[in-house]
């Protein structure tokens, strides 16, 4: 963000936020470009999306300008590791649930999620994961009767 300071940007967060909005506006416009706009009397499916894209772009532009004029404020530290690891844990669950069942999915995604923290203790985590798998089966499948495969479907068929 030194570069930002060199360019006279006082609020790097707002610069980035504004650019993200501009990009999103462009994306929304692009995705709806093939839909007719229609008229005010009979709005086409492209009318509202384009309106939104223009408004978002305007705010994005405003933020980019404000980033140079507003009261200076530093960029907060980004430590996206936790967010990414948590998302991966969810993703693993999603990929495994239908192929390997709830028990396997739990035993993979819980330890994976735990990696997002900084202080994980292997033995404790191991016991906790097993408990979580049991509780998940008992509460969600047997208790609440939700249709979730417990074991790999290949085994039961």
């Amino acid at each position: 963000m030194r570069l930002a300071a060199l360019l006279g940007v006082r609020r790097p967060v707002d610069l980035l936020a504004g650019m993200v909005l501009l990009a999103l506006a462009a994306l929304i416009w692009q995705l709806n470009a093939r839909f007719p706009v229609g008229s005010l009397r009979a709005m086409g499916p492209g009318y509202v999306p384009r309106m939104l894209a223009v408004a978002l772009a305007a705010i994005g532009l405003g933020l980019v300008i404000y980033a140079r004029l507003g009261a200076a404020c530093a960029m907060p530290a980004w430590r996206p590791r936790a967010a990414i690891v948590l998302a991966l844990a969810m993703l693993a669950f999603g990929l495994l649930i239908e192929r390997a069942g709830l028990i396997v999915a739990t035993c993979v995604s819980v330890p994976l999620a735990a990696l997002a923290g900084r202080d994980s203790r292997p033995v404790e985590l191991f016991i906790f994961t097993l408990c979580a798998a049991i509780v998940a089966v008992v509460v969600f499948v047997w208790g609440l009767g939700q249709l979730i495969p417990i074991m790999p479907p290949a085994w039961t068929s």
């Binding site: 967060v13 936020a17 993200v20 909005l21 999103l24 929304i28 995705l31 709806n32 839909f35 008229s39 005010l40 009397r41 009979a42 709005m43 086409g44 499916p45 509202v48 999306p49 939104l52 894209a53 408004a55 978002l56 705010i59 933020l63 404000y66 004029l69 430590r79 996206p80 936790a82 967010a83 990414i84 948590l86 998302a87 991966l88 844990a89 969810m90 993703l91 669950f93 999603g94 990929l95 649930i97 239908e98 709830l102 739990t106 995604s109 819980v110 999620a113 735990a114 997002a116 923290g117 994980s120 985590l125 906790f128 979580a132 998940a136 969600f140 609440l144 939700q146 249709l147 979730i148």
Partner: protein
């Protein structure tokens, strides 16, 4: 229908074994999760939302509201004992609640919070029962233009009163509106912004957005700023109030309730604004304001009553107008829509059993909460000792199972994960996710009303200003924006001049 026969109908619907159980389960589970630091009502509700999907509509709403006020109560317990607010509306409770706990008066603080909340909850629920039906009847006469402008007003107020930058909040609303457009357009049949994915042809599932933006992103942010916790669990002290404490706190509870009832109705107000204002009022009225921050019981009694009153009052715009006053109510609307209930002024008239059943269950639920909270305080305290390193993987698992069970769709679990990352990025860019969900749930309704208004007026946009009610709503919205922007612009201008 008058309130007595309404309540009779409602209690008839709410006092079935199933619904009582759901009310209890919701309150208990809500408190269980809400008591954990760093997990507020929205995160709790999003996480537990899928549990309610297999229920019939009234049962689902009863359980969800139970989860909501359970989480709210749980948040206050945490604020008092741990000095770590689970959510923004408990921030104020920390100020005097935690000092009280340190002085060994945690019991008194917890008792006054619970009793104040109970009083506020019951009063505001009765107010809802008294006035909501006539308000809804009034709203039924609104034309499409009026409804559109009212929703604009609601969104503007919600963004103006929200924390942080106004421009960014509006951007989030717009983004929410855009997300709401994804999928098949009812009027033309065009499938918009689905990226060619058949899973998105009916729109982005609400659960994925709620779980991702609120639960997952919240956990990620918590992990990022993991701080130390200071649990006061040695002695909670007597779980009752002395005569002096009772005399001191009673007027504060009354004032808090009144403030909460009024401020809670305003979109964007809700529980947080009410508790802040109540604290300021109590401090102003106190004979010795210096006690505040040192464990003044009014500083707990007032805001706690206000925040529960506000939480209950925010159901009023939801049930009478179909407009969510805050993100929690947006989650509520999302749940209603999934259950096939179209939120709006017609609900009370068309489904009196649903409305009055919910009102009755709120009365029952508030009572249940006191029963769950106070005697079991030891359980909640021991729950606070469970280390976060074990809690959050459990939350992630809960999110994953919950999202999957809605539609048995692995795709949606992945989508929720994606929204978790998006949510983290948005927070880091100082975008609040709350206005986004408001826009998301209001978007389709606004588009529909605007289209209808324009068809009636033959394409004249001026209909929005010529319809008197609509004009009033829009001018209030404009006024609200100006009052916020003007001082800020002046400040920026002066700062620039100084440089």
């Amino acid at each position: 229908m008058d309130i007595l026969s309404g309540l009779a109908l409602g209690f008839g619907a709410a006092l079935t074994t199933d619904n009582l159980l759901l009310c209890f389960a919701g309150a208990l589970v809500g408190m269980l999760v809400g008591v954990l630091p760093g997990v507020g009502p929205i995160a709790t509700m999003s996480m537990l939302l899928p549990l309610t999907f297999s229920l019939e509509p009234l049962g689902a709403l009863i359980m969800l509201s139970g989860i909501y006020y359970g989480a709210q109560y749980g948040g206050s317990t945490t604020a008092i004992l741990v000095n770590l607010p689970g959510e923004s509306s408990s921030v104020v409770t920390c100020l005097d609640g935690h000092p009280m706990a340190r002085q060994g008066r945690a019991g008194a603080a917890l008792a006054v919070a619970a009793l104040g909340s109970l009083f506020a909850g019951i009063v505001v629920t009765l107010i809802t029962g008294l006035f909501a039906p006539s308000l809804a009847e009034l709203a039924l006469k609104f034309g499409a233009a009026d409804m559109f402008s009212l929703m604009v007003l609601g969104l503007i107020l919600a963004t103006v009163l929200a924390a942080g930058s106004l421009a960014k909040a509006i951007a989030m609303v717009l983004l929410g509106l855009a997300l709401g457009l994804v999928g098949t357009d009812v009027n033309s049949g065009a499938i918009r912004m689905s990226l060619g994915l058949p899973e998105l042809s009916e729109g982005v599932p609400f659960v994925c957005i709620a779980v991702g933006l609120f639960s997952l992103a919240e956990i990620a942010i918590n992990l990022e700023n993991a701080g130390s916790r200071d649990v006061v669990a040695g002695r909670t002290g007597r779980l009752w109030l002395t005569r002096d404490e009772l005399i001191q706190s009673t007027p504060a509870v009354m004032r808090g309730t009144a403030l909460g009832a009024v401020l809670g109705i305003i979109p964007g107000g809700g529980a947080m604004l009410a508790s802040f204002v109540s604290y300021i009022v109590e401090k102003k009225l106190a004979r010795d304001p210096s006690r505040f921050g040192q464990g003044a019981i009014e500083g707990v009694a007032g805001p706690e009553s206000a925040n529960n009153a506000g939480a209950q009052a925010s159901f009023i715009p939801l049930l009478t107008l179909g407009i969510p006053a805050n993100a929690v109510m947006a989650v509520m609307i999302g749940a209603m829509q999934i259950k096939g209930i179209a939120p709006g002024p017609q609900i009370i008239g068309a489904q009196p059993g649903l409305f009055w059943g919910l009102i009755a269950s709120m009365l029952i639920g508030n009572l249940m909460l006191v029963v769950i909270n106070l005697p079991l305080i030891g359980v909640w305290v021991s729950l606070l000792r469970v280390p976060y390193r074990l809690l959050f993987p459990a939350f992630v698992l809960l999110c994953a199972i919950g999202v999957y069970s809605v539609d048995s769709s692995a795709f949606q679990v992945g989508l929720a994960a994606l929204f978790g990352i998006i949510g983290y990025g948005l927070r880091k860019l100082e975008f609040e996710p709350a206005p986004l969900v408001l826009g998301l749930v209001l978007g389709p309704m606004m588009e529909e009303n605007l289209r209808r208004a324009l068809i009636i007026s033959r394409g004249e946009l001026t209909v929005l200003v010529y319809e008197p009610l609509s004009a009033v709503f829009l001018s209030i919205a404009l006024l609200a924006i100006l009052t916020i922007i003007a001082p800020r612009m002046r400040a920026t201008r002066e700062r620039l001049r100084e440089e």
